[in-house]
């Protein structure tokens, strides 16, 4: 079972990249990916209600192919957001939470204060996710994940891109160091970087059970990303865990 734990549907906004559900499934058929764990770009960039509703429709249309993240553009929507999260996890069968710290990049030297995972406004939703064991995919720096894991030791956080984001200056070594410190922190191998040894180093440091594969489609090519795991010099069992078994286990442990 291969599950891509990091897929964006819609217009991702960077470099004009976009993809539809249908196109993503067609691609997955070719790459050998069984399930796509998706966030809708509308949710993360504009309106979580509209984006998640579109994702829910796709989950009904493709029940065996698409898993859904509740994806939020800002934790500052109070009760409306918390009610939405609860409804989508328990009534609509979503499987995770996607949150971004946006966006200090190599092109911008400032961050948007209303999009930070360390924002105290995010604490209530992390408390809920901790209690229900909902995995959280966080596009955030190693430092932000360190702080959040310390504050929420029962929260299951997947550090997107192994922390090697533009905001974190591509520093996946630091991501591994922080993951070594927190047993509730997972590393998502999705990354523009294909630095030889990064997958092997992650497995060596924290073991294969806390490493999760994703593609970041359509920003990145799913072929390119899956090959990073397939060609890595690690054993076959580790590859199976990373390519699907780990995320499947996390999803199956959500409290119903």
């Amino acid at each position: 079972m291969i599950i891509d734990a990091h897929v964006h549907i819609g217009s991702a906004g960077i470099g004009g990249q976009s993809i539809s559900f249908e196109e993503a499934i067609n691609l997955a058929d070719k790459t050998g990916v069984d399930k796509l764990f998706c966030t809708h770009a509308l949710s993360t960039s504009y309106d979580f209600e509209e984006g998640d509703a579109l994702l829910y429709e796709a989950m009904k249309k493709y029940p065996n192919r698409i898993l859904g993240y509740v994806s939020i553009n800002s934790p500052r929507h109070g009760k409306r957001l918390l009610d939405h999260f609860k409804k989508y996890i328990f009534d609509y069968g979503f499987h995770g939470l996607k949150i971004l710290s946006f966006y200090k990049s190599v092109f911008l030297d400032r961050a948007d204060p209303w999009m930070q995972i360390t924002d105290p406004y995010a604490y209530p939703i992390f408390e809920m996710a901790s209690e229900w064991k909902v995995p959280v995919l966080a596009h955030a720096t190693p430092e932000e994940c360190d702080e959040t894991c310390t504050r929420f030791p029962d929260l299951r956080i997947m550090m997107a891109h192994m922390g090697a984001t533009q905001s974190a200056n591509g520093d996946w070594h630091k991501g591994i160091t922080v993951a070594n410190k927190h047993s509730n922190l997972y590393l998502d191998t999705t990354s523009s970087s294909i630095d030889l040894g990064m997958v092997e180093e992650a497995v060596k440091a924290i073991g294969p059970k806390r490493v999760v594969w994703g593609s970041d489609l359509p920003l990145l090519d799913q072929w390119y990303e899956i090959e990073k795991i397939r060609c890595a010099e690690i054993d076959l069992e580790s590859k199976k865990l990373i390519l699907g078994e780990n995320i499947n286990r996390l999803v199956s442990e959500i409290e119903s």
């Binding site: 533009q166 974190a168 520093d171 523009s192 294909i194 630095d195 040894g197 090519d221 090959e227 060609c231």
Partner: protein, 257 residues
């Protein structure tokens, strides 16, 4: 046949790399593992320390593996007194088929008003030698990169030169394709192209004859760059162009004045 336009030899100063640490034979082993027939190599020493000593390592490596390796030379305009053109000649005489420039690491402006740099470009033109300007060393956001506007202005100043703009990715993608559409002397190197449909859209924009396959191995996993070309939805003939034919054609005239 597969020819890689960017293979690194030498040491990697910033973290352990099993293949670079083990030396040249291990590099060849990695090429063989992924069925890369030839690699146009560069020494990291010539980027981070001194161009001439790094280039010397390249020439020696090519002497050892002439069937597998092709020499490229890094030139720092400020390392050769008033006459960098003379060093260009020496490198080409030693077998360099490509000149590479690293303005960020050698701390000089990429400007047509930079006289020593202009001397290098003019000498390269004289020898039919392509000039590679990598935007970044590898696809890791920690490394500095050349701003695309600067690159475009510079390359437009030398219509007779052949430029390879290597290591482009989504921040530069549309801008560079527009430049390449306008200027036939621009080639693009794929070693950092991570975008979904990046190869396909590049071919749609400028055709397949000015795209050059690269891996950045062993700093990057070569398999990732290979599969993006092999699985892209383009004609088989276009894949052959990108994977080997273009670079063969491009480098063959270097030194034949």
């Amino acid at each position: 046949m597969v020819i890689d336009i960017t293979g690194y030899i030498g040491k990697w100063p910033w973290w352990p790399n099993a293949y670079m640490d083990a030396g040249l034979d291990k590099f060849i082993e990695l090429m063989d593992k992924f069925k890369i027939d030839k690699s146009v190599i560069i020494s990291t020493k010539s980027i981070f320390y001194n161009d001439a000593t790094g280039n010397e390592e390249v020439f020696q490596a090519v002497e050892k593996y002439p069937e597998k390796l092709i020499a490229s030379a890094v030139i720092n305009p400020y390392s050769h007194g008033d006459n960098p053109a003379k060093y260009v000649n020496q490198c080409i005489e030693r077998g360099a088929k490509l000149i590479r420039l690293y303005p960020i690491y050698h701390r000089y402006p990429l400007s047509k008003d930079n006289p020593k740099l202009t001397q290098i470009i003019k000498q390269a033109i004289l020898h039919n030698c392509p000039i590679s300007i990598p935007i970044r060393l590898l696809m890791n956001w920690g490394f500095l990169f050349i701003r695309v506007g600067e690159l475009v202005s510079f390359t437009r100043s030398f219509p007779d030169a052949t430029f390879i703009i290597d290591a482009y990715n989504y921040p530069e993608f549309h801008f560079l394709l527009e430049l390449a559409k306008e200027r036939r002397n621009i080639f693009l190197g794929t070693m950092c192209l991570t975008m979904y449909k990046g190869i396909q859209e590049s071919v749609n924009a400028i055709g397949s004859k000015r795209l050059l396959f690269g891996t950045g191995m062993p700093l990057q996993y070569p398999a990732c760059s290979l599969i993006t070309v092999k699985e892209s939805e383009i004609e088989q003939s276009a894949k052959r162009n990108i994977l080997s034919l273009n670079v063969k054609k491009l480098l063959k005239n270097c030194g034949n004045i």
